[in-house]
Symmetry: C2
């Protein structure tokens, strides 16, 4: 029931995703009276799904703590409960991010040695695709959190992106060792001394994200969220400037007509819907958050991300790698981490 | 002597800047043997300048503390000394940022009630131009620092950008009051309760930067640096995708030819050289940092930023506004600021 165009886009998104993953089955949680006709109108979806009535829905502005307490019969909560009960392999929601994270943590619990789950997403780069985390689950992060994000990002890049030996970078304000605050420096020291050392590139900067300097970009949720949204805003600015330019003269208008198909491909490569589906990593279960403002195509992509994670056994891979989690504090000498 | 193509681009940049600000005089600090022929080759520059020999230069990787201690006869230090002595109205350097900030703070001192200077820069938005600070001077910021940045950004937007009543936003991971960490929430509470309240928009997100939601974007130096470089990287990614698209078919190549002039204008609007020249705000003197990798045109823009700041008496305006600095801690109730 979450998202601006729910539940319509959810059911329509399932229809699109079903064409790409024909073996998928769906459990729709929400207002049965609204869901039933939507599902019935799509025979392929109807054949592959069941509706579970949920009397409540979490509002977009509900505080996570309130959602957790008062939302026991919400569509979001019942869907997560189904994952814990083994009735579903994963959950996809376009609802309130904070509530989804709080409920998922409470119901599914985090994996052993992972203190806090992180939100991860792919993004386009000059070299292909990379993954960045955290994108907003943890506003304040310790060095240990960052090290754990590196382990989860590595497992994700190997399984879902198919990179054999992913490179890992920690986002910072410079590439030199002495740059940045205590947390990034202690995390870097821990990664350099631990089993991920051969894959650890060191610090990367904001421009390295889209350059694709590393396959995994590790950062705290505050910085990651700002970076992601800044990138989206910059792409929009560029698009708007281009739109204006192509209208600025007859010659430019003609140019647009000739280049139209090629430009459509650029737009498609940078389409936020293509990268819709932020993964909650570090939980006992697959949880994917769709952007609330997306449409059916974007929601379908989020479903496909979840299906990919399930198919690739992402959590088993992370579980196998939990031994790579090394405590940062013990490794960083006080002198290195200071000031 | 700082920057990849110094001192050539510095002297050539002065030549370009001189055409825009014909009353400017220059003091070049550096290796006289290298500077003299460069200046002599440009009669207009030669007529408006003097060379001051500096036996040393600060290297790009020198630690600020070392530069401060050992760099007393460096070109950077002597140029800053000239500002303090009143021989120059401002200093422009493409050298080591950390060293420049450390020396400028030590020699020029900060303005009263400003604890820490900030690095600011304009950037293009859908609505024109805005200013963001801090972009990297202060990796860790208190709520008080953020409030002071807001006051300086406001003075800057009024004087140099010419906005009558600039709007101010604090960069955060969401627009709701409860979002973000303690520092941004305490700073927001202080701005809401202080004399800048009518101009304070509240929290803005990464995509608001280029949307131009506010004239001034306030953030800590870690987040600001990452956001700025992420925006640059995203613009480069978009440009590369476009370049590839225009080569992908005969029709697209033709389209490029027709749209060429219009596209050149987009490139120009987003050209990082156009926004070159980061301002150090909060010091008793005008200090502008040019990107080290820029060319003469970019360096000329940095000079023009400094000339603009001097012409508009930016520091007098900031001094007038120091009364708007209100302590954040006293205003933020413990409950509001708590985790």
């Amino acid at each position: 029931m979450g998202g601006d165009s729910a539940p319509d886009m959810v059911v329509e998104g399932a229809d699109i995703a079903l064409r790409r993953f024909p073996d998928t089955g769906f459990l729709f949680f929400g207002d049965e009276a609204r869901l039933a006709p939507l599902v019935a109108a799509r025979p392929a979806v109807a054949a592959a799904s069941a509706i579970r009535h949920a009397p409540d829905a979490i509002s977009g502005d509900a505080k996570p703590s309130v959602a957790l307490r008062a939302g026991r019969s919400s569509s979001m909560r019942l869907a997560i409960d189904a994952v814990r009960a083994g009735e579903a392999d994963g959950v996809v929601s376009a609802g309130n991010t904070g509530a989804l994270m709080a409920m998922a943590k409470f119901v599914l619990k985090t994996l052993a040695t992972i203190d806090r789950p992180a939100i991860a997403s792919f993004f386009p780069t000059l070299r292909g695709e990379s993954v960045m985390l955290d994108l907003g689950a943890n506003v304040d992060c310790t060095a240990d959190n960052l090290v754990q994000f590196a382990v989860m990002g590595d497992a994700f890049a190997r399984t879902v992106l198919g990179v054999v030996q992913p490179t890992i970078g920690i986002l910072n304000v410079g590439s030199e060792d002495l740059k940045g605050h205590d947390e990034v420096r202690a995390a870097a020291a821990a990664l350099r001394a631990g089993p991920l050392a051969p894959q650890f590139h060191g610090f990367v900067e904001g421009n390295d994200i889209t350059a694709g300097t590393t396959d995994v970009v590790v950062t705290d949720g505050f910085t990651g969220n700002v970076a992601l949204k800044t990138a989206e805003g910059t792409a929009r600015l560029y698009s708007e400037f281009l739109r204006g330019a192509f209208r600025s003269s007859l010659s430019a208008k003609l140019g647009y007509l000739f280049a139209r198909n090629a430009l459509a491909k650029v737009r498609e490569r940078l389409d936020p819907r293509r990268y819709n589906g932020a993964m909650f990593l570090g939980l006992n279960g697959v949880v994917v958050k769709s952007h609330g403002g997306t449409d059916a195509l974007g929601f379908a992509n989020a479903i496909c991300v979840a299906a990919d994670m399930v198919a690739n056994g992402i959590n088993d891979r992370i579980r196998d790698d939990l031994g790579k989690v090394v405590p940062a504090v013990a490794l960083a000498a006080p002198g290195d981490a200071g000031g």
